[in-house]
Symmetry: C2
Subunit: 348 residues, 2 copies
DNA sequence: GCAACTTATTATATAGTGAAATTAAACCTC
DNA sequence: GAGGTTTAATTTCACTATATAATAAGTTGC
């Protein structure tokens, strides 16, 4: 059995209240100096560590923050900008002496009650939700609960709800404009899943918007709806090249799908970027040749954590929303100027 | 204020014990069917969720497992095989309905008391430690505590201590033999920090061992002791090329340092692999051209989690140690045959 | 046939669980 | 004895476990 505050009190010949004061250095002026020192000595001798459960029960404070992310086929951090978001969160939160309680839910299966339990069980002081599914039960439970929370990569119209996001629309505009400036007339788009992902929807809408604004036609058969995986990228290329007019450039809603697309293009004997230009989104930096839209994931995680912390500790909040600019990173995968779609030349 | 079991009991006109039985489905035969149904209805109506703190206090069970990793300059998941280890852990643990409580400590600073607090606070049912520092205070606290724990990437002689590791020695032997077979006579070695990392030490010792066994000379000035970072890789190359006899091949103790080395080599006008062959360790797959030793990080994480879970749930444990084989992955960064160190040709 | 006694079922009351807050009390000092 | 300092006792937090009580139905003895 572990040492309790009672044991310490008994050995010191004082009450538990006195020990508690010394341990927490709270109302310490109510404890005499010599008793204080005696208790401190015994604390070390016995190796006492307060029980978090008991303390949490009384104080309603756990120093845990819940971090939730969602998966498609299986939970995974690897294939994702997710890791950098987490790094940002960790860097802020660990400095503030909080723990991170990680939890992950399926994006498709709506486990009734599981979310609510997580939110209402008193295990965490607040929640950071990374790219939660649209219209999800999870989101409802979060709203109904009394816990502070911050959404990452999700925008809400409610001015009271805290979130951080990147400027998806501008990111897509940049990459489309870049491709147009290279002379591309027909751009394929690989979307993430529109149904569950807010980011995906935003990026897709931005794509349609900017095409129209630039006076370009939008072709249904040059769009593929994937699920963020590499396989989705390969499938998209297969689909595009079954149509009469395959694109000369492809924008994928994330880097993973872009890499999948490149793989499939090469398999079909097409060169990147000579035959087809490919761009991604996220900048996961696992491939140093991919043109992509950089998302400042670390900063977003850091800022979200800060927002949550401010709420938990009841500090003044400068803003409830925060948008981060993206940055177009031009690399080799679309670095060529296109005279026309038949005859392609390299730019010196 | 959140709904408590008392509220439910009051509304249902029964005692709290009865409600507890229904909530946990424990000793449920002691509750009449109609009372059961009535309570279940009220449970939903009021939206009751048990308080984890109160429950944990009584039952001594939290359904949290602590995952600890260590950093050098700042906490980070990105630059590492760490992410895959975590994926393995998550994949097992989330299926078992446990939460992951992540905590990270500095490798250099020994924060007295902090580890012990983490181990003894009753917040977690067990601990997974990823590559803990050698001879660390953390390790002592873990041993002294009564929590079950499993070490990842750390071997201990004690048959009662659970750990998983990869076969570092064989990995290094494979890569050395590969380089020797390509004709290299002078191999540089970039070690991780020997002082704090068990893996690093094992790999370095393996390197010395196999050189001797193959009848090759070991040169002190062809060894550099880094700290796993990219910068360490660049520094190593700088150091090697200041000596009289720079190596024709370099083995780095992890991929990050190998990539740093390649960067610096190119900066100095040397070609990889034509002029210098470079190999890494881990297979972080952020660069598809690097020859490296693959470490089955996912499986290791998965297995470690399973071991821990078995201990926590008092299931029979098949073994306390588990070693995973590595696999040499030959890619471009060392793909050439060397006739002699002056005159190099490519193999067709 | 009725009280008394079983036996099984169902519900309640009570005692922890460790720590913190609140209230009460003891102890000085002047 | 007032006033301040220091310590103690008690209650609270939400929940679970254990022991005990109540209830009901059936069985037996006389």
């Amino acid at each position: 059995m572990a040492i309790t505050i009672k044991d310490v009190a008994q050995k010191a010949g004082v009450s538990v209240a006195t020990v508690s004061r010394v341990v927490n250095q709270k109302d310490i002026h109510k404890v005499g100096l010599k008793t204080q020192q005696r208790i401190e000595k015994i604390l070390k001798e016995l190796g006492y560590y307060p029980n978090t459960m008991a303390r949490g029960l009384k104080t309603r404070k756990t120093y845990n923050i819940g971090v939730v992310f969602f998966w498609y086929e299986k939970p995974s951090l690897s294939d994702y900008y997710l890791t950098r978001v987490l790094d940002g969160i960790i860097s802020f939160i660990s400095e503030k002496k909080y723990n991170i309680l990680m939890n992950t839910f399926s994006r498709n299966i709506q486990n009734e009650g599981v979310y609510a339990n997580f939110v209402n069980s008193g295990l965490v002081d607040g929640v950071l939700a990374i790219a939660p599914p649209v219209e999800s039960r999870f989101f409802q439970d979060l709203k109904q609960g009394s816990l502070p929370y911050v959404l990452i990569n999700y925008q809400v119209n409610d001015p009271n709800v805290c979130f951080v996001d990147c400027l998806n629309t501008q990111g897509i505009i940049d990459v489309v404009d870049h491709l147009l400036s290279l002379g591309h007339k027909r751009i394929g788009f690989i979307a993430g899943d529109i149904q569950y992902s807010k980011n995906s929807l935003d990026r897709f809408n931005a794509f349609k918007y900017i095409l129209k604004k630039r006076g370009m036609a939008f072709h249904d058969d040059n769009v593929y709806f994937g699920n963020w995986t590499e396989q989705a990228g390969t499938k998209a290329v297969e689909a595009f090249w079954k149509t009469k007019h395959p694109p000369t450039a492809i924008i994928a809603s994330n880097d993973i799908m872009a890499l999948g697309a490149i793989k499939q293009l090469r398999k079909q004997g097409l060169r990147v970027p000579q035959d087809v230009a490919v761009c991604g989104f996220d900048d996961i930096s696992s491939d140093m040749t991919l043109t992509t839209v950089h998302q400042p994931a670390f900063d977003m995680g850091h800022e979200a954590a800060k927002m949550l912390w401010s709420q938990i500790e009841k500090r003044p909040l400068d803003y409830t929303h925060r948008f981060f600019p993206t940055k177009l990173v031009v690399r080799e995968s679309c670095g060529y100027y296109l005279k026309n779609s038949q005859d392609q030349k390299t730019k010196s």
